[in-house]
Amino acid sequence: MKKTESKTLKVLLDPLWKNNPIMVQILGICSSLAVTVQLKTAIVMAIALTMVVAFSNLAVSVLRNVIPRNIRIIAELCIVATLVIIADELLKAFMYDISKQLSVFVGLIITNCIVMGRAESFALANPPILSFLDGIGNGVGYGSVLIAVAFIRELLGSGTLLGFDVVPRIFYLSGYENMGFMLLAPAAFIIIGLLVWLQRTLLNK
């Protein structure tokens, strides 16, 4: 009993730090460059992706004994595509502005390597509950990096967080300026690179 408990915990927590999909596996970089200019979009994207990964893992895992091996990619794609469309429609219905800002990137979750990667490597070989937790863990691991990058980019690039001004006016009056570079995609590359560096240094201690 104890063993399964620890395994569950491992499945849930490993992707957060030790086996983080962005920082270790370097997956899902494209969307993390595109949606991290603002914190708000990053949070929505993180939630959307977590939901998609978790439920696609669950569905694939439930069907794992039924899906024929030869066409498993197509079957996985159908499941993921369905979930992505649901997520997209939900966003359009309830958060239209953010859905506009995220534009194609919600739809592009389907091409996000993390989703297919987890379905292929984990859900096809593990029971449903564990797969679901694995999806949650990977989604949160991806989302936490996304939010960290967006936090830095919005704070330095626009001087705001979630749209509210946080840099005091006195800073601007004494010569501080927003860093235009942070609004460009290369900034996310460099921040992710620095995060990877930091993580490796901490892990190797």
Binding site: E177, G180, F181, M182, L184, G193
Partner: protein, 396 residues
Amino acid sequence: MFFEKLKKAFDNNRKHFRDSGKLKSMYPLFVALEAFFFTSENVTKDQPHVRDSIDLKRFMSFVVIALLPTFFFGIYNAGFQSNLVSGLSLGFWAAFSKGLIIVLPLVLVSYSVGFFWEILFASIRKHNISEGFLVTGLLFPMTLPPTVPLWQAALGISFGVVIGKEIFGGTGRNLLNPALTGRAFLFFAYPAKMTGNSVWTVVSKLKDQTVDIVSGATPLALTALAGTNEKIEVLLAQKGYGFFRLFTGIYPGSIGETSAMLCIAGAVFLMVTGVASYRIILGGVIGVLSTGYLLNMVAGESSAAWFSLNPFYHLVMGGFAFGISFMATDPVSAPGMENVKWVYGFAIGVLTVLIRVFNPAFAEGVMMAILFMNLFSPLLDYVEIKLRLKKRIPNV
């Protein structure tokens, strides 16, 4: 006498920095200081000996020497331009001291912040501080406009040293020129302070003056404004920028870039001493001139004024002379093989002109051209090595 005492001081304190000493973590700093005054304690004792004692330190000292005329002229010019628009005395010493007030803080910030990072990385990685930063720390402020705020300069040099050099493993392993990396970072991070017409001259505020920004466009910015039927040479001459003035460099611009004359002097010194590759410099000049002439040939009635510009103006305007002499010849980020250095220099020249002429967003193209070709230099090296291997008779 002084040096004997200094030597003794070094010898007496060496044990504190050695393996078991208390100040072990500061050993790189100790070695750097000692090597600054004396030779390094690690010298080759066995054969074979090299014929020339040129090492990294001499290499870098030569570059600094070659930079000095441009540097002092840059100081004078910054002060001169500032006094000109502020209506102050234009005498040599007045201008020079004004320039010192403008430039010296930038240089101090660049060196102190850069050395902070160098020492930090050297201490953590337990290697010696190399002399490479002596050059980077001087080159970097010379590429900046005189009005740039000090904290931005500090940020720029931090980015240049850490992202441009240290993450690749330090001196000798960087892909990009660190000084230019820092400048490129500032260029994209704070475009308002790096480009435009108001950043090139420091205006001193007097009591009865209300003006605090003067539109002192650089010659390059002026040319970018020229209409389709105008001759750029005429336009520049109307503003007082004749070819000779552009050549000598009394005009607003980045601190070190304006004087093509002194850049050429520095380049000649570096080529004669063998520090900089003449292939890169000549290749660059040929690249600019040939592209310029090619554009002259295709220039028609309706093409932009840039097309029909005399190619020699490309050489003396903006930062090309500075960039090709001191930035492109950086031995680390340039290719190591001899023949592709021609290609490398040539491509920098071509790209510089193409960016200036075809991209209205950038009046200046040297920085981009050099950084771009920096990325290609490993590929160029690879091609030349492959070609050389092909010439060999196999299996002999």
